[in-house]
């Protein structure tokens, strides 16, 4: 009982103390009330923060605040354009033939043996303060030979007594490119980059060989081993030599894979006592960006604070035409970043995160299916609008179509649905008409998607709006919008394909097709049943073979799946990054590539090879239209949908513009912490009457019991 009283006392004490400082349900310390801190919820903690390893949106949203590759995407301009970040200008690209002679820019791609990217970085950029750079008076590194005893009371690199920095150099970028093929690092793009960067494959072999000879616990210094195609010209300039012409390489230069890593940092983090305390480069990034990682508790939160050594950058002064009226250029020319601290807080479940957003404790939120009706309603023109409740809170809705596509693919190696014969095409076209993507988007995505007309999502060069952009094998243009062809037309195609009424002449029964898909749990049941019904419209019987993702991938690798569902999220905003999914040299079964449909059309391949090497010119657009037409006709995929992201932001947050390619965008945001504190206080005044009601209910409930107790005690006494 004493424990309960003590606990109740502590709570009352806390209630009293908190009452003076702000809302009782404030999950943050009272001292943070007016501070310029951005709070974000993370549903899952990132696996990697090492720029050579990180490759997911969650990971990028963290490390891109810290690491700076040479280029970045312009925050406001659309379509997406690259601008220099640490580079002084965009890379200068030169072309050479096999003899090493420089070629003019207009040289056809097949005559170019290699391209050289010359990148010049700006002088005067410094790394964040870090113990890896700290030296003693005689110039020796202070913390490069640590023992377990030295790490007493050290829980993060920021706990070391001496922190230092040094200037960013071209060698730091070269070092990171070497790390991509380090035998211990396992970068996901190691294989891909060895195909493109001259000398990287040989370098990988050499260091693999040398690495086997040293103790794996020791630091393996990559500096003495050169890469033929990657080298620093001087302190601020470096060259990357690419095989042939690969214009998309510039986009890789905006990804953290190509961010700088100083050798000192690599050396520092290779020390066993640090590794045993989980102090590694994979958990504590070291960059030149606007923020530095101050705390990393992977089960609770990550805290980023302003980097005191940030080189300085200003808010962009130009954008799209509507940006001025939207107030997005109000901060033009102002120094970045505006926010002092960013806290990423782990919220595994959506419901608490959503409620905390509504209480003002998170600045932004996505919308789950459960909360969709609470947040969104559709207006007269079927446009998404916020509900009155959210509008009253000053919340804003921002939507953006993701550079992604979800599709239903046909395995082109399959004897029933695969192949380029006219009958097979007609079967696939019939199925493409029957699967009502608009209905799917409405039922399963709450309208958050755009039915795909081809592989390219809106916003990517080559995507065409209006009648010329529709898939004419599936849609017709009526009343100013695409209209899906009737099911009768699909049935006609099916009959021409040799399956009248969906009957398989070889068996006399309905045509049996098999859909392989990951998942199959209760939450997927409705979705899979919906697919079955779409095929039933044609009289086709669809057998669902739902399985776990591992097994699904195995089936795809060996080509066992007949029809499958899959998706793709673009690495960069270029049509090549979508069309390559159907290039025969990327066939999943033959080459282990990303062409999961194993589609192989020589005409498509020929046009793709031309298109991928061109700049965004009318000639390229023409090729894209031809490629799209081939895909519409061959129908190796049923083009599904491009997801549309709905994100809610509180009114105190300014400069919000969804950017689907850039993730290091927190530096552009501005928040009004005073307004936030006032609104939080207003929205979170404690309501005590339910508590009193509860207590009253308990008292009323216990009163008869108390009477009975009295009576029984009285009876006992009499007895």
């Amino acid at each position: 009982m004493r424990i309960i009283l003590r606990f109740a006392y502590l709570w009352l004490l806390w209630l009293g103390l908190s009452g003076c400082k702000g809302p009782l349900n404030n999950p943050y310390p009272a001292v943070e009330r007016d501070r310029n801190i951005f709070y974000a919820a993370l549903a899952e903690f990132p696996k990697h923060l090492d720029p050579a390893l990180a490759y997911s949106a969650d990971e990028y949203s963290l490390i891109n605040q810290t690491y700076e590759p040479p280029l970045q995407y312009h925050y406001l301009q659309r379509p997406y354009v690259l601008t220099p970040l640490t580079a002084a200008s965009l890379p200068r690209v030169s072309y050479f033939n096999a003899q090493g002679q420089k070629l003019p820019e207009s040289t056809p791609a097949d005559q170019i043996a290699y391209s050289e990217y010359l990148i010049t970085i700006r002088p005067g950029i410094y790394f964040q303060p870090h113990p890896a750079f700290a030296k003693d008076a005689s110039g020796h590194f202070l913390y490069h030979r640590l023992t377990a005893r030295d790490l007493k009371n050290i829980h993060s690199p920021m706990d070391f007594p001496v922190l230092a920095s040094r200037e960013l150099t071209a060698e730091d970028y070269v070092y990171q490119i070497k790390r991509l093929v380090h035998p211990k690092v396992h970068s996901p793009i190691a294989g891909l980059m060895q195909e493109h960067i001259v000398g990287l494959a040989e370098f990988a072999q050499e260091i693999e060989h040398r690495y086997q000879k040293i103790d794996p616990q020791e630091f393996f210094d990559l500096r003495p081993y050169p890469i033929r195609g990657v080298y620093a010209l001087d302190r601020y300039r470096y060259v990357i030599r690419i095989r042939g012409k690969y214009p998309q390489f510039k986009y890789w230069l905006a990804m953290p894979f190509f961010a700088p890593i100083p050798w000192e940092v690599d050396r520092f983090y290779q020390q066993l006592p640090l590794i045993e305390r989980n102090l590694t480069l994979d958990w504590y990034p070291v960059g030149t960006g606007p923020y530095l990682l101050a705390e990393n508790n992977p089960n609770r939160r990550i805290v980023l604070v302003k980097n005191p050594n940030f080189h300085g950058e200003t808010y962009p002064s130009e954008g799209e035409s509507a940006d001025t009226s939207l107030g997005l250029l109000r901060d033009a020319g102002q120094p970045l970043p505006f926010i002092d601290e960013i806290q990423f807080i782990l919220e595994r479940e959506f419901i608490p995160a959503w409620n905390k957003f509504l209480q003002g404790y998170y600045e932004a939120s996505g919308i789950s299916s459960d909360s969709f009706d609470q947040a969104i309603r559709f207006g007269a023109q079927n446009q998404a609008e916020l509900t009155e409740e959210l509008k009253a809170k000053g919340i804003r809705l921002e939507t953006a179509v993701a550079p992604s596509i979800f599709y239903l693919g046909f395995n082109m190696l399959d004897p029933v649905v695969g192949g380029l014969e006219e009958t097979k095409r007609k079967l696939r076209q019939a199925i493409a008409i029957a699967i009502d993507q608009e209905e799917y988007i409405s039922i399963f995505l709450n309208g958050r998607g755009v039915a795909a007309q081809g592989v390219l999502p809106p916003g990517i060069f080559g995507y065409l709006e209006g009648p010329q952009g529709i898939n004419r094998y599936v849609y017709t243009w009526k009343n100013g919008e695409p209209q899906r062809k009737s099911i009768e037309e699909a049935r006609k195609l099916l009959a021409e394909a040799g399956y009248p009424g969906g009957r398989d002449p070889s068996t006399g029964g309905p045509l049996l097709l098999y859909l392989d898909t990951p998942g199959g749990g209760p939450e997927d049941k409705a979705r899979l049943s919906w697919y079955r019904k779409q095929f039933e419209k044609l009289g086709i019987e669809l057998v669902i073979r739902a399985t776990d993702y591992n097994r699904f991938q195995q089936k795809m690798r060996v080509g066992l799946a007949q029809i499958f569902t899959w998706g793709w999220n673009a690495d960069y905003p270029d049509p090549e990054n979508f069309f390559f999914l159907l290039y025969s040299k990327n066939g999943k079964v033959k080459y282990g590539g990303e062409n999961a449909a194993n589609y192989e059309n020589p005409e498509f391949d020929r046009l793709f090879e031309q298109m991928r090497n061109l700049d965004d010119t009318p000639a390229r657009l023409e090729l894209i239209q031809k490629l799209t037409e081939i895909l519409h006709r061959d129908a190796p995929w049923v083009f599904g949908f491009h997801p549309k992201n709905f994100t809610l932001y509180h009114g105190w947050l300014a400069n919000v513009k969804p950017n689907q390619m850039a993730t290091g965008t927190l530096k552009y945001l501005r928040l009004d912490s005073k307004q936030r504190a006032q609104l939080r206080a207003a929205w979170n005044r404690p309501i005590l009457w339910p508590l009193y009601l509860l207590l009253l209910g308990l008292v009323i409930g216990w009163f008869p019991a108390w009477l009975k107790y009295r009576k029984r005690m009285h009876e006992t006494a009499l007895a």
Binding site: P188, R300, E347, R348, A353, N355, P686
Partner: protein, 325 residues
């Protein structure tokens, strides 16, 4: 006693090997090493060569249970099972497949788990015993009947309902406590209050019914009748005589679960954002991190065995008639 303990420790070995073998088989049936590598390396652009390198570096390129290429004892020792299991028995858990030190992670996470589990256990005990004694006091009345009915209702309600209802009522409507989150030191109190309350309330149904059964069994005994005959009041009988005697099974039951407390609760910690151990194993399964899965299953089994041994010992301490031979 010493001999008994030694025997129990020796018995524990085959149990732990068996548990480890089952975990190993279940894990690798669903997650072949190639898929583990893919999960760690990502799904885009990963080559088979990169997968082979990843497996080799972590020892997942060996055969699972029997190495036909090796000679002698190496046929058994040069396998994934042996290589990954032997260090567990020395409590050397090593690093997770994503490279983090498992012991450091466990140390960091056990504190928040205990901050929820210990007060929930203690308060739950007090509340459950109190309500159970009240039911016994009002036995054979409509209070007992309605109390038991309420217990059945409480027992039948999903734990998730208590969590969501608690967050809705106290966090969202009344705004008395944070909906989720965690803080270090004294600031942890405000985050712990609601999960503890939810934990206690969700355990009332089953706890009260179980303790009531123990008390009812005790209250029918002769010494209670004698106490009544001597004129002792019902509260005195319940608190001075029935409670201490019924405490034996209660205490031994509590001792059995003590070592498991620090493993935390998945549901509570996930919904309340408590950075404990509750979700550590589940996260590892979803990330196909076998190093963490095997370490946590091994630790859980070892602690369970420890709990059973402690139960046996506690019997000898609270009941002198029990001897461990």
């Amino acid at each position: 006693m010493t001999q008994y303990l030694l025997r129990r420790v020796l018995y524990a070995f085959p149990i732990l090997v068996g548990v480890n073998l089952i975990t190993f088989a279940l894990f690798f049936v669903v997650n072949p090493p190639d898929d583990m590598a893919r999960m760690q390396l990502g799904h885009k652009h990963v080559t088979q060569e990169a997968i082979e390198k990843w497996k080799h570096e972590r020892g997942y390129d060996l055969p699972l249970l029997f190495n036909t290429q090796a000679q002698g004892m190496q046929r058994l020792t040069q396998t994934i099972f042996f290589q990954k299991s032997v260090n567990l028995f020395l409590f050397r858990f090593g690093r997770s497949d994503s490279g983090r030190d498992i012991v450091a992670d466990i140390k960091e996470r056990m504190g928040p788990s205990l901050a929820i589990a210990v007060p929930t256990l203690l308060l739950g005990l007090i509340v459950n015993i109190t309500f159970a004694l009240l039911l016994v006091f009002f036995r054979r009345t409509h209070f007992e009947l309605s109390g038991l009915a309420a217990c059945v209702v409480l027992m039948s309600t999903s734990a998730l309902f208590y969590i969501i209802a608690g967050q809705y009522l106290f966090g969202k409507v009344m705004k008395l406590v944070p909906i989720s989150g965690y803080g270090g030191g004294m600031s942890a109190i405000k985050f712990v209050l609601l999960p503890v309350l939810v934990g206690v309330v969700s355990g009332i149904g089953s706890g009260v019914r179980w303790y009531r059964t123990l008390f009812v069994e005790e209250i029918e005994k002769d010494y209670v009748r004698t106490a009544r005959a001597k004129g002792l009041t019902e509260p005195k009988i319940l608190f001075r005589h029935v409670l201490p005697n019924a405490l034996i099974p209660i205490l031994t039951g509590v001792v059995a679960i003590l070592p498991l407390l620090f493993l935390g609760s998945l549901l509570t910690e996930s919904f309340f954002g408590i950075p404990g151990l509750g979700s550590y194993t589940i996260d590892a399964i979803s990330r196909q991190d076998f190093a963490i899965v095997r370490a946590m299953v091994f630790l859980g089994s070892a602690l369970y065995i420890l709990g059973l041994v402690l139960t046996d010992i506690s019997y000898t301490l609270v009941d002198p008639r029990v001897r461990l031979e």
